[in-house]
Symmetry: C2
Subunit: 132 residues, 2 copies
């Protein structure tokens, strides 16, 4: 921590420093960007949260998924208290660079309810509607 340990990526390689990514991200007017967090083992979507520049930097340097807690107004290393850390294997960014995707190895569960994923409830099931 503190020593970022990043080197400039060779041309053509999909590797950036935290500051290079932060320089490209289109943060909203609160300085935040939405982050989708996905389990690398089976691509299940675990949660969606928000990051600011500091959270992105901390994720790069520490390797653990870090967010900005809007309710607590503080940096939030997911699992720092519960032990349910998320080891980040990859960070992707979308075509217009206003959303991030953390691909992680989840220790324990992602949701504060004890469920594996925050998306554990279904509101709609389609099927037979695809030709409408």
């Amino acid at each position: 921590m503190g020593d970022e340990g990043e080197v400039c990526p060779p041309p053509g390689e999909d590797r950036m420093t935290a500051d290079e990514l932060i320089g490209q991200v289109k943060f909203d007017d609160r300085g935040l960007v939405p982050v989708v967090t996905q389990d690398v083992s089976d691509n299940v979507v675990l949660m969606v949260a928000w990051a600011n520049a500091e959270a992105i930097r901390n994720t790069f340097t520490g390797g653990h998924a870090t967010y900005w807690s809007r309710s607590r107004r503080s940096l939030w290393v997911k699992g720092e208290t519960s032990g349910h850390l998320q080891d980040v294997e990859e960070i992707l960014y979308d075509c217009d660079v206003d959303t991030l995707l953390y691909r992680v190895r989840q220790k324990g569960v992602a949701c504060h309810t004890g469920e594996r994923t925050c998306f554990y409830r279904s509101a709609y099931r389609g099927g037979g509607k695809s030709n409408e």
Copy 2:
């Protein structure tokens, strides 16, 4: 379309009407909720966009993923012009009901760049950092 065709879900079943879901969703101060869209075939995250109540209702009734375009300020049936429709198989909502997950069968590609997913660029690859 127009005839919603929804019935009240039997107790314990994870099925809602559009209005039941809309009544629970915590929309932001613009009346929007973020939507993560995931391919049911392999759980790849295709895109993140925004929905308002009308977009949710249209997704339920039409079966095609519908969003709210912030730039065009209009309802956006994904693929209506390009043919790259998203047939929605399931809509999930997260623990605090401020994010939706559309699970879809994507026709063609999701990204306007021609890539399959909007998350086609990687900024960071971890590994060996999990014990830091």
